[in-house]
Amino acid sequence: MNFIVCIKQVPATTDVKIDSNTNTLKREGVESIINPFDEYAIEEAVRLKERTGGKVTVITMGPPQAENALREALSRGCDEGILVSDRAFAGADTLATSYTLAQTIRKIGEFDVIICGKQASDGDTAQVGPGVAEKLNIPHIAYVGKVEDIKPGTMKVQRMMEDGHDIFDVSLPALITVVKEINNPRLPSLKGMIFSKKAVIKKWTAADISADADKIGLSGSPTQVMKIFYPPARQGGEKLTGEPQDQAAALVSKMKELKLI
């Protein structure tokens, strides 16, 4: 069966610090990684391919350096990588991104399942997965924690909810977004790394995917940033000092004062 994985290259934000003097982001030396949730998507696609046979194509919309993310995905078991990159995509919000990815997938042709990570660690919107499904007019299930069964034409999945999980039968082709509970991503294999190094990544532009200029990039984005500001810092309070016993006593007495306990 044919699987497509949509990934995004993001800054390793856990390392991003704020420069307290200028109240701005320290961006130097922040490396780029595959969006963590996408690692689970890649792993699931590879596992499903191992179950059913077939192929995994990994795609990303991004600047030229996003190619590294695709190569990393190849080293973990994906078969082909496609980078869709164009200046015209700059400033795309989730709707424009969904459209762009959907056009890319249309050009790829036949597929059975599209797998996306739940959300990207920089935008955190979780919107693109469902958006792509809508643009391709296929069903989607978000927050999938387990693929119970898969065969040509249909798939049974668990959708994780706050109070447990719902089980669905979905007809294929379909799209799923996956959460961390679904699997444990493998490391690259040596053969995968060698394959990845030699692989030729397809590079498509807006013209290659027959994209409508009004639907991509900033022009295709209904949402726009009005302003950016730094969140007001929460001010600190009291330091409780002394021996552990004294600190504990002081804390409990404060909590009682404030009628918290």
């Binding site: 493998r186 490391l187 690259p188 294999s189 040596l190 053969k191 790394m193 060698i194 190094k197």
Partner: protein, 385 residues
């Protein structure tokens, strides 16, 4: 220092390092505490293709050599010298087949090992035959199309967990050292059982047990090379495997050195990081120099071995193993010292390295035996002139 690794070798290092940090580091303490065999880690390791790095491609491996195996073992050992041992000891058990096996024997056993899903072990040591390997008592009696094995091996690494065992037994006690032969024995063969798991100072997650042969019947096809070649198989095997032990020791030492340097920069006493005190600096400098020397010796040895495995590699293999293991012990003791109280606490990963390092001076030939080998080789070389 730059050792001019090839692109492929750099990939090996990168992958092994990533594996060690992501899959071994989070669980090393737990496996040591529980003295449990790290199957979950081995299963993950199998997916990386690294287990077969030294096995020829035609048998499912990556077709690289002893040097490449060493580089992987070193990287893994930097994080944990105990879990890396399951790979190094498997290599020890596999070399007899690699070096002396027939094509049929290789086809039967190597692919499983190369995939990382099956482990191997080498059995020579007995309760009364350690350094004096010639004193082994385990017998293999030919009976029709089979051999019947009787006897006990002890202190065997990977025992009970491995599928494939290469065992040295006496086929003709009258011939002394020329009466030993090497056999392949599979786990599950009737008459082949394992003793209790030993409780050890270090490498606690490794499984060390007795191999017990009680009228264990194996097909004659399981004989490696010829009858009487047993100790030659063993010696050639050690020439190939000792660099692996050196790599394990080197990794343990290198990991200890890195952590000691990091710690010394963070630990503040008397108003400054202890890395500012000459006492500490000199300890670190000596550690670093010795580790680098051990590495240089090992890499040269391993490269030489791969260039010509059939050449006389005993002296260099022995030197690499001797030096690296001595450095590992010395370095880990000093690293614990640099960490002071924290070095002694089980909560921190340093003391484990000291406990793990000791075995490298003992197994696959004690440091004293290594010195014998080196001296013999020197004397032989001199005599040949």
């Amino acid at each position: 220092m730059d050792y001019f690794l090839s692109e492929e070798q750099k990939m090996l290092v990168e992958l092994a390092k990533k594996f060690a940090h992501e899959k071994i580091k989070p669980v090393r303490e737990e496996f040591d505490e529980k003295e449990e065999f790290p199957w979950s880690v081995i299963e993950e390791f199998a997916k990386t293709d690294l287990a077969g790095v030294y096995i020829p491609a035609e048998y499912g491996g990556m077709g690289m050599g002893v040097f490449d195996l060493c580089v992987v073992v070193e990287e893994l050992s930097k994080i944990d010298g105990s879990i890396s041992l399951s790979l190094a000891a498997t290599a020890l058990g596999t070399f007899p087949i690699l070096l002396f096996g027939t094509d049929d024997q290789k086809k039967k056993y190597l692919p499983g090992i190369a995939s990382g899903k099956k482990l191997a072990a080498f059995g020579i040591t007995e309760p009364n035959a350690g350094s004096d390997a010639g004193a082994i008592q385990t017998s293999a009696k030919k009976e029709g199309d089979s051999y019947i094995l009787n006897g006990t091996k002890c202190f065997i690494t990977n025992a009970g967990e491995a599928e494939v065992y290469t065992v040295i037994a006496m086929t003709d006690k009258t011939k002394g050292p020329r009466g030993a032969s090497c056999f392949i024995v599979e786990k599950g063969t009737p008459g082949f059982t394992f003793g209790k798991k030993e409780k050890k100072m270090g490498i606690r997650s490794s499984s060390t047990r007795e191999l017990i042969f009680n009228n264990c019947k194996i097909p004659k096809e399981n004989l490696l090379a010829k009858e009487g070649m047993g100790f030659i198989v063993a010696m050639k095997t050690f020439d190939a495997s000792r660099p692996g032990v050196a790599a394990q020791a080197l990794g343990i030492a290198a990991g200890a050195l890195d952590d000691a340097v990091d710690y010394s920069r963070k630990r503040v006493q008397f108003g400054q990081p202890i890395s500012g005190f000459q006492a500490i600096q000199h300890i670190l400098a000596d550690m670093a120099t010795e580790v680098e020397a051990a590495r240089a010796l090992l890499y040269a040895t391993a490269r030489q071995y791969d260039k010509d495995p059939s050449a006389r590699n005993t002296k260099s293999s022995a030197m690499a193993k001797l030096y690296a293991s001595e450095v590992a012990m010395k370095t880990t003791v000093n690293a614990v010292q640099v960490l002071g109280g924290y070095g002694y606490m089980r909560e921190y990963p340093m003391e484990k390295r000291m406990r793990d390092a000791k075995i490298t001076q003992i197994y696959e030939g004690t440091s004293q035996i290594q010195r014998n080998e080196i001296a013999f080789a020197l004397i032989k070389e001199s005599a040949r002139k």
